[in-house]
């Protein structure tokens, strides 16, 4: 019987695409503001923090069998009630991120269009994302691999054109204040990107591969280096002053890029292809949100993704319709919230899990009787074998 599983490479491809949108939209301007000419190092500085995030999730889920993810790991560590409470917090934050993500997409596409088209663009994105999230994850992952190729080709063109436009006077000499602002820039970058922790809830649908940890590390480093080069091109091409003041520096830079004199104002092409990243992000968030609802409440049904999409549109309109509110939330609350979800809860859960394992075998969330995980798994496997035997 085939299960809808994806490979680690496909999981990391989806996360790479999804994080590209907030990473490029939010971090370059902040990095320029905080760390000036060395702001491009924020991406590099975030590598250890994101590797730590990967290690925390890996350590929590290492001993779980295939078909179990971060939600089960949190439950096993913190107990059925506290564990479910924490997963509920993840779900609530996920909905907030979904609403923010949709609105940030709206900001991007209305950069060159009237605001009157905003709702049309948001609804189209939501409909496409819901449609993707309603289907199989493996189909989504395959589509993600194609999106990845398109974005990679675009990035090569932009970065090659951008590197040629770098003015070294924008990068040197470096002020002392720039170095002092670098830790804050690294923190903000890591805060934005640590939303990737939600990939841990997709582990239940990911095949267990022997080199999974090494793959995750490679992809994390690759992503951060790509982000660093993008920031370098932005700072080198625009300068700190313009990069800090631009709403979306990469797209502002693309506006001034040209390929010879044949193609000008590349920002239309860039935004069009970058929508694939937003689509992946929103679809992934809807998918994870629906999975969390199923896990928490046992609710199933194909209506979950459309309801989540509609709820996110409504939340976005109620809370983030003012672009200044969206900007302030993205700057002040979003990185901190992500950091709590990515580091505080997993670290606390891991500490408790290790303590529990010294005393007991860990408690399963699937059991109401406080049975340990291996007992519950054994019962589950026995049930499954019985079902398969009946079918045969």
């Amino acid at each position: 019987m085939g299960r809808d599983l994806i490979s680690v490479k496909q999981l990391m491809t989806l996360l790479f695409l999804a994080m590209l949108s907030p990473g490029v939209q939010l971090t370059p301007g902040w990095a320029a503001e905080r760390a000036g000419a060395v702001g491009w190092l924020a991406g590099v500085g975030a590598i250890p923090l994101l590797l730590l995030l990967g290690w925390l999730v890996s350590a929590l889920t290492r001993d779980l069998p295939e078909g179990r993810g971060l939600a089960d790991a949190l439950c096993a560590a913190l107990g059925p009630w506290v564990g479910r409470g924490v997963v509920l917090l993840y779900l609530i934050w996920e909905l907030v991120l979904l609403a923010v993500g949709i609105r940030q997409y709206g900001q991007k596409v209305t950069m060159d269009y009237d605001d009157e088209r905003l709702w049309f663009c948001l609804v189209v994105l939501c409909v496409m994302a819901v449609w993707i999230a309603s289907g199989k994850l493996s189909a989504f992952a395959r589509a993600g691999e194609i999106f990845y190729l398109a974005i990679a080709a675009l990035l090569i063109v932009i970065l090659a054109a951008g590197v040629l436009q770098i003015d070294w006077l924008n990068l040197v000499p470096v002020e002392r204040e720039d170095w002092m602002g670098l830790p804050a820039a690294v923190g903000e970058a890591a805060g934005v990107l640590s939303a990737a922790v939600y990939g841990g809830f997709l582990l239940e649908k990911t095949r267990r591969e022997p080199d999974a940890a090494a793959q995750r590390r490679r992809w994390t480093v690759k992503f951060c280096l790509v982000l660093a080069v993008i920031q370098l091109v932005i700072l080198g091409g625009m300068g700190t002053h313009l990069a800090a003041r631009a709403e979306m520096p990469l797209f502002a830079l693309a506006r001034d890029m040209s390929i010879g004199s044949a193609v000008q104002r590349l920002e239309g092409v860039v935004v069009s292809l970058w929508i694939l990243s937003d689509l992946t992000l929103v679809a992934l968030r809807i998918w994870v949100g629906a999975a969390l609802i199923r896990w928490l409440f046992g609710i199933r049904g194909r209506w979950l993704p459309p309801v989540l999409g509609a709820a996110a549109l409504l939340l976005g309109e109620l809370w983030f319709s003012d672009p200044w509110v969206l900007r302030d939330f993205s700057a002040a609350v979003l990185p901190a919230g992500n950091a709590v979800m990515a580091f505080v809860f997993p670290a606390a859960a891991l500490a408790v899990l290790r303590l529990r394992r010294r005393k007991t075998g860990g408690i399963s969330c699937a059991s109401n009787k406080g049975e340990t995980e291996d007992v519950v798994m054994k019962k589950t496997d026995e049930k499954k074998e019985k079902k398969d035997a009946e079918k045969c």
Binding site: D112, R117, F120, W131, L169, P173, E175, G239, H241, A252
Partner: protein
């Protein structure tokens, strides 16, 4: 069933994006658009006066539109109330600034351009010696558009001066408090001629760098290509040298942490373009030619810097360039620059390599 649903959904999305239904689509049709290529901004009675022109095509001459307003953006919007075509600034690639406006300050103009979603920071910025709007009459606009495109493409080549983008000017002003803009002048025949560079300090025009001073800028920034230089040899004979390229390094001379001088080391390559009739190509004569060319280059650089020192402006970001090479002195350099710059000793050293 899923494929049918996907097909219908895609069709619905594509049809609604095609412009067939009007509610979400108010964009003008292509034939109703006037794609403005050049914008000239001058001081006006109300505040600012703008003159904009499209390019000339085989079917129609260049369209010239004018408007006034309290701000640049207000004037640009007011232009849309004039004429039958809808002016679009998305293809604007040249911005001309009048001298009077430059003397009053360009801060507001540059700020507006930086924030506008239609105007590009990569558009070229030119300073017109006189009224910028006068360059864009019904008779001359088409020619001016072509001329500016040529000046942009051939910037730094031959006798053409360097071009400058709006973004580069903004960044330079923010970093060093000064910048330079290529200057143009309108001849009696209605042609735009290169006229050196205008120096902005703060955001106001303070002086022009003309003739050898402007050559000094080109040499220091290393953007001279295929320029012909007329020289007078020691015997009073005339000669001409074609400069193929130049590379310059800018560094500072420090004594006890205090900047005492600027050293500009330039390496030029050139070929003899015209020599006296009795010229004999020997090592000695080539050495003489190289020495005279080097003296000329050094003199241009010294004149250029002397002019900048006289107004205490650093449009070439010399402080930053020196700081880049001596990062240990960067902080003290920023503190002392404004005080010491006018009195700095200029050490210009040019090395010329001549080929047949």
């Amino acid at each position: 069933m899923r494929r049918l649903a996907a097909l219908l959904l895609t069709a619905a999305v594509l049809l609604s994006l095609s412009g067939c239904s009007n509610p979400a689509d108010r964009a003008a049709r292509m034939e109703d658009l006037a794609l403005l290529r050049v914008l000239a901004v001058d001081g006006g009675d109300e505040g600012v006066k703008v003159t904009a022109a499209t390019g000339e095509t085989s079917q129609q001459p260049a369209l010239v539109l004018q408007a006034e307003g309290k701000t640049v953006i207000a004037a640009c919007l007011a232009i849309r109330g004039d004429g039958t075509a809808y002016p679009s600034y998305t293809h604007l690639d040249q911005l001309l600034i009048g001298e009077e406006l430059a003397l009053g300050g360009l801060g507001e103009l540059l700020e507006s351009v930086e924030r506008d979603r239609e105007l590009r920071l990569s558009s070229r910025l030119w300073l017109v010696r006189g009224t910028a709007g006068d360059t864009l009459s019904e008779e001359t606009a088409g020619r001016v558009v072509e001329r500016l495109s040529m000046l942009e493409e051939m910037a730094g080549v031959g006798s053409n001066d360097m071009d400058r983008t709006i973004g580069a000017a903004i960044v330079s002003l923010q970093r060093s408090g000064a910048t330079f803009l290529p200057a143009l002048t309108l001849s009696e025949e209605g042609n735009l001629l290169a006229a050196g560079y205008g120096v902005l300090k703060g955001d106001r025009l303070v002086c022009y760098l003309e003739g050898d001073c402007s050559k000094g800028v080109d040499l220091m920034l290393g953007i001279t290509t295929d320029d012909v230089v007329e020289l007078t040899l020691p015997g009073g004979q005339a000669a001409a040298v074609r400069l193929n390229g130049v590379r310059s390094g800018i560094s500072g001379e420090f004594r006890d942490g205090v900047l005492t001088g600027i050293r500009i080391s330039s390496k030029l390559t050139g070929t003899a373009a015209q020599l006296p009739t009795d010229w004999v190509w020997t090592d000695e004569s080539v050495g003489l030619l190289e020495e005279v060319t080097a003296d000329w280059a050094e003199d241009c650089i010294r004149q250029s810097l002397a002019m900048m020192q006289s107004v205490n402006a650093d449009p070439l970001e010399l402080c930053r360039r020196i700081g880049g090479r001596a990062p240990g002195h960067w902080e003290s350099l920023q503190e002392q620059w404004e005080t010491v710059f006018p009195d700095l000793e200029v050490l210009a050293e040019a090395e010329v390599k001549m080929t047949r």
